[in-house]
């Protein structure tokens, strides 16, 4: 079976976008695609964070972490109402 996926928030260094990508979204997509052929971006963040969230396997998350321009790969956290 397919390894279990969970959501990760991937923080990217916006200024490290390779010039080959005209838009950050293309860079995020290519970064994700380089570690997973099937994962989809849930959200792209551009105002208070730079990066995206996606469902990844542990191995894919670790692979992303090692890519140039990736600052951190944080697993989804569940918050609760107070």
């Amino acid at each position: 079976g397919e390894e279990k996926r969970q959501t990760y928030i991937v923080h990217m260094a916006k200024s490290r976008r390779p010039s080959t990508f005209a838009e950050h979204g293309h860079w995020y997509d290519a970064s994700l695609r380089s570690v997973s052929s099937s994962a989809e971006i849930l959200y792209s963040y551009d105002t208070v964070a730079h990066g995206f969230s996606a469902r990844l396997t542990t191995a894919e998350a670790q692979a992303l972490e090692s890519l140039d321009g990736v600052l951190s790969v944080l697993p989804e956290v569940r918050y609760e109402l107070h």
Binding site: T7, H11, A13, L42, Y43, Y45, V77, L81, H82
Partner: protein, 660 residues
């Protein structure tokens, strides 16, 4: 809300906001369970066009149209991709894939922050009055991020991202997710960059009190809000067959109990289940509770569900007793049957009575709404407490605000208990939590933002903190803690209870910029990657030639950590903090006074200079405080307060000492 405007002095709001329409361009974004737009609290009468530059939208979805927004509720969005990715597709029989609030929490918090005034508001006749938000002229934007299964960080970060881009000025988040380093905390990351764009982020401190070190949302760029009581109560009385009378609280509003006393039974003796005293679903034996008042104890299941369990088993009424986990804190609920919530002492006494009598009886008498309760405020037992685990040198919570038995707007989807069997529908409901205190501060921050559009988020927070009060009028030993019945400390209330009338004119503020917070991150030895993740500054490196210190962060409070000397060393340690104050009140000469109280030793405090003169608005002056203390056992603590006053303003900072 009703009562809190009077309690906070907002009923004299003409003094607070001199220009009638000041504040109408301020937008409060509330990240929560959505919104019920038909509530009168979102009436936009008198509002002009939405502020120029507003980029928000009213997203359509299940039972929600773009036309549900108006000039008061100017935005409504929902964020469910992370939730659905983790939990599966939304069950649309239980919740709505739209900004519409099917829970009530989000409507409550958003109307608390900035609801329009609604006359003749009440919950089933309780807490009657004119309900209004703290910033009635501010606009509201709802960002639904919380669902039946929780609030997910990918959705929350997306909502903060969008809310800041939309043009919100204040963000209110009544949610939390434990304690973690700032670079791992999506709320902290989102809040940092919101702050850098001038947006004040106010978060609830959490409901894990009275345990120490139980705070969430402790990043120094977040305003962290604990909860206190109002001077309002909903008394109900248990009258036992032996003539003794015990007071509690209730929001029951239905057919009263018969005038003659009824048999009373302890739930633990009316159940074959382990933990039968808790009145969990399916645990009560109908033949033992039918027609009787049942004494249940708090724990595990929701309070209102216990009432339903008693009613479902045929019980006539319920006494819900606190245990040592809750002590004497009384939280009122709109139970489905005649019920009374009592404190631990009363619960123990009632239990002793009914276990010692052959035929014990009781009745419950309901007392409606009582105001003018003293002392008030007291710190709510549930309100999370310091010290701050993530950064002990930053005192949290920042302040407290009303969070107990708060009436505010409610969803039309569920009744006031939130139970599916509760068919009642109400315009307003009464609930408790730091979720309720947070939007009070968010709304008050919006008021200050409207009056002082040029103030930074740090300046607004400073104004609210340095003018907060930590003692009752007349001064009799400080605000009390309901958990202990004794004086609370800055670990419980931070700077104190918010006082917006004074906050509007603080005289001086402790301002902070994003760069100051980055210096703070350097003081924490954050790596370049970690700083980049929090603050979006790629390749930022802390200056090796500089000495960074958390004690140098220009925070409006002081958390002073001493190290306990080891072995035979009995020395005096000195810790220095530096601060810079900015005049927002114009010319004045301020003098410093300090008071401390430390058990087991004396902390000497020297302020240099002890007098500061300001000649104009915007002028900055710095000072250093030296705290000198003997070595005390690890775990010791003490408190104090530093005040600067020019005779008109008092700029107060709480001080907490710890020995580790």
């Amino acid at each position: 809300t009703t009562r809190t405007p009077e309690f906070l002095g907002l009923d004299k709001s003409d003094d607070l906001v001199p220009q009638a329409n000041t504040g109408s361009d301020v937008v409060v974004g509330v990240l929560d369970t959505g919104v019920w737009p038909e509530r009168k609290s979102f009436d936009d009468t008198g509002f002009g066009p939405v502020p120029a530059g507003w980029k928000g939208a009213c997203e359509e979805g299940k039972d929600f149209k773009a036309t549900d927004c108006n000039r008061k509720l100017i935005g409504a969005r929902f964020f469910s991709k992370g939730y659905e990715a983790s939990m599966g597709p939304i069950d649309e029989t239980r919740e709505l894939r739209s900004p519409r609030d099917s829970d009530g929490h989000g409507t409550h918090t958003s109307t608390t922050a900035a609801g329009s005034a609604v006359t003749d508001a009440s919950l089933l006749g309780f807490a009657a009055g004119t309900a209004r938000g703290m910033a009635t002229r501010a606009r509201v934007a709802a960002y639904k991020v919380c669902w039946v299964g929780g609030c997910f960080s990918s959705d929350i970060l997306a909502a903060i991202d969008r809310a800041v881009d939309d043009g919100c000025h204040v963000l209110s988040l009544s949610l939390g997710g434990g304690m973690s380093d700032y670079y791992r905390d999506s709320v902290a990351i989102g809040a940092f960059n919101a702050m850098e764009k001038g947006v004040l982020v106010s978060c609830s401190a959490g409901n894990s009190g009275p345990s120490a070190s139980s705070l969430s949302n402790v990043a120094p760029w977040i305003t962290t809000v604990g909860a206190g009581t109002l001077d309002r109560d909903f008394p109900a009385y248990v009258v036992l067959g032996n003539g003794k009378n015990y007071s509690g609280v209730s929001l029951y509003s239905g057919k009263p109990l018969p005038s003659s006393p009824l048999p009373i039974v302890y739930a633990g003796n009316a159940s074959n289940a382990t933990g039968g005293n808790l009145c969990m679903p399916g645990t009560l034996m109908p033949e033992k509770v039918a027609g009787k008042i049942v004494l249940c104890e708090r724990g595990i299941s929701p309070r209102v569900q216990k009432g339903y369990v008693v009613r479902d088993a045929g019980g006539a009424g319920m006494i819900l007793a606190n245990t040592d986990a809750n002590g004497e804190e009384l939280v009122a609920d709109a139970h489905l049957l005649p019920a009374n919530g009592v404190g631990e002492k009363a619960g123990d006494a009632i239990k002793r009575y009914l276990l010692s009598e052959m035929s014990p009886t009781a009745t419950i008498v309901f007392g409606g709404t009582k105001v003018g309760v003293r002392p008030s405020p007291v710190v709510a037992a549930f309100s999370s407490r310091g010290p701050n685990v993530v950064t002990p040198e930053i005192l949290k919570p920042d302040l407290i605000a009303p969070g107990v038995n708060i009436l505010a707007g409610w969803t039309g989807a569920v009744g006031p208990t939130g139970l599916s069997v509760d068919s009642r529908r109400v315009e307003f409901s009464i609930i408790s939590g730091t979720s309720m205190s947070c939007p009070h501060v968010s709304g008050l921050a919006a008021l200050l933002k409207g009056a002082h559009p040029d103030w930074s988020p740090a300046a607004i927070r400073s104004a609210l903190m340095t003018t907060a009060y930590a003692d009752y009028p007349g001064g009799n030993g400080g605000l009390l803690d309901v958990a202990t019945g004794k004086a609370a400390t800055p670990f419980d209330y931070g700077a104190g209870h918010v006082d917006p009338r004074r906050g509007m004119d603080p005289g001086l503020v402790y301002d902070l910029t994003a760069d100051d917070y980055i210096d703070f991150l350097c003081a924490l030895n954050y790596t370049s990657l970690q700083i980049a993740a929090v603050a979006k500054r790629t390749n930022y490196t802390c200056d090796r030639k500089r000495t960074y210190a958390v004690s140098g962060l220009n925070y409006p409070s002081f958390a002073v950590a001493f190290e306990t000397a080891s072995g035979d060393r009995v020395g005096v340690a000195t810790v220095k903090h530096t601060r810079t104050m900015t005049s927002v009140g114009g010319p004045g000469t301020y003098k410093a006074t300090v008071a401390t109280a430390v058990t087991g030793g004396e902390v000497k405090v020297a302020v240099e200079p002890a007098e500061l003169s300001f000649t104009k608005v915007g002028e900055k002056q710095s000072y250093t405080v030296s705290f000198s203390a003997p070595s005390l056992p690890s775990g010791s603590s003490g408190f104090g307060r530093l005040e600067w006053s020019d005779g008109k303003h008092v700029v107060a900072s709480p001080i907490a000492f710890t020995w580790t």
